[in-house]
Amino acid sequence: MPTQYTALRTEHERLGANFTDFGGWQMPLKYRSELAEHHAVRRSAGLFDLSHMGEVWVTGPDAAAFLDHALVGKISAMAVGKAKYSLICAEDGGVIDDLITYRRPEAFLVVPNAGNATTVAAALTERAENFDVTVDDASARTSLIAVQGPQAESILLRLIPVGQQEFLTTLRYYAAVEITVTDLNLLVARTGYTGEDGFELFVANDDATDVWRAIEAAAEDGELTPAGLAARDSLRLEAGMPLYGNELSRDGDPFAAGLGGVVALSKEDFVGKEALAQRKEAGSARKLVGLTGTGRRAPRSHYPVLKDGVVVGEITSGQPSPTLGVPVALAYVDLEHAEPGTALDVDLRGTPEPFAVTALPFYQRQK
C-alpha cells in the first residue's frame, strides 16, 4: 500500500511532529512529549488529526434496513442526530471492524478504523446488493479533526456564531450536529476515544487546514495541545476502550471482548447472526479484563498472564498509565480468573510481576 499523508501534513510538520506509519498512513505519533500530550487532554484539551479514519456514506430508501443487515446493531432504531457504536462481522462471527454510525437527516455516516476502511467499504458494497441503497466511500476526500478534553467545549464555542452556539452546548454524548462557521461546513459529533468530553469534526479535505488553524486560534495560550497517536493510545487504554488489532480481530469474539451488548440477536437477520448466536450459547472460554500493577514495568501486547506459574491468559495492550501512575493492561484471561480483585502475574520478559484484575475503565472522568 502506498504511504499516504492527510490533508494536514503541513500543519503537523510546522508543529514538529514525529510521524509513524499507521494503517498505511503517515500520522503524527507525537509532537514533543506524548506524556505531556496525554496530560493536556485530561487537564485542558488536545487537538488530534484523525483523517486516517474512514467515512462511508449510506443513502437510499433502504439505508436503515441495509445497515441492520450489514452490522450487528439495530441501526434502524437510532434517532436522527444520534450515533451508535457497532461491529461489522463476517458470516463466521469474526469481527471485521468496530465502527461508529451517525444518523443524519438523509443518510448514515459509517466511520471505520483506518486500517480497515477499504475492507469495510468493500464489505458494505457487497452486502448492499439486494438493497435500494448507495454506498459512497468518502474517506479519501474527508478529514476528521478531534478536540478532546475538559476545555474542548469552551474552545470550540469561541469559533461558533452566537446563533449556533446552542447546537454545541446542548449536543449530547454520541450525537452530532451540522454547524456552519463562516463558509466552513462542519459536522460536529460529541464522540471520541479518550475518555474525556470532546468533539470530532468531519470536514472536507479542502477545509481541513482552515478548521485546524481556526481551532488553534480560538484556544488561549497553553489551553490546547496538538496530540498524536501515542497519546491517543494511552488515553483510550485508560478509558478501557478496545483497539482493533489488539483487543478485537477476525479471530476474536465480541462476547469475550465484553461487547455482547452491541450484538442485537433479536434482529430478524444480519450477517454473522447464526455464528454469533452459537458463540453466545456456547460461551467464551476467556474474557477481556483490566489488569493493574504496582511496579514500574508495564506489560506489553502478547505477554503471558500467569496464575501460580501456569499461563491463564495473554496481554492485548499494556502501558504505564500516565494518569494513574501505575502500569495498566488489557488481557484475555480464562473465565475462572476474570473476577475483579483476582491476583495474577504477568510474565514481564522472564520475571513474573504481580497484577490484579481491575474493573474497567481504569480511568473515568468526573462529570
Partner: protein, 126 residues
C-alpha cells in the same frame, strides 16, 4: 532531526561513550534513541561490580510505548551507575548527552563510530 553531540563515540545500538580522565568511560543513550523511544518511564541498569560485554544486553529502557534493551558499547567492570536516572528517567529525554547511565572500567571497546559517522549512518544533526 535529533542531535548528535560531537566529540563522543557511538555504538550502532545508539549508546554514546565518553572517555574520562580516570580511564573509565561514561555511557548514555543518544538523542536519536530517546526520540525513537518517546518518554522514558523506567530504566534498569547493571549492578556496580558486574562485568558487561560489548554488544550484549546489560539493562533495559522502558518508555510509554515500548521496551528496549540497553546494550553495553564496551567490555569491562561497572564502576558506577547514575542513581538520578532510576529516580527520574525523564531526565534522559530532557538531556540525553548530559545524563550518563553507567560507567565502565573498559578493557575492550565494541565497534564504535565517530559522531560524524554515526550522524551520517543514523540520520542525526551534528
Amino acid at each position: 532531526m535529533p542531535t548528535v553531540k560531537a566529540g563522543l563515540q557511538y555504538s550502532d545500538e545508539h549508546e554514546w561513550v565518553a572517555r574520562e580522565e580516570a580511564g573509565t568511560v561514561a555511557v548514555g543513550i543518544s538523542a536519536i534513541a530517546t526520540d525513537a523511544l518517546g518518554d522514558i518511564v523506567y530504566v534498569e541498569l547493571p549492578e556496580v561490580g558486574s562485568t558487561v560485554t560489548a554488544g550484549e544486553t546489560c539493562g533495559e529502557v522502558e518508555s510509554t510505548k515500548s521496551v528496549s534493551d540497553l546494550f553495553s558499547p564496551v567490555t569491562g567492570e561497572i564502576t558506577e551507575v547514575n542513581p538520578a536516572v532510576t529516580e527520574d528517567p525523564a531526565a534522559i529525554n530532557e538531556d540525553p548527552y548530559g545524563v550518563w547511565l553507567f560507567k565502565v572500567n573498559a578493557t575492550e571497546d565494541g565497534p564504535l563510530l565517530s559522531a560524524e559517522d554515526y550522524a551520517a549512518k543514523h540520520g542525526g544533526d551534528l
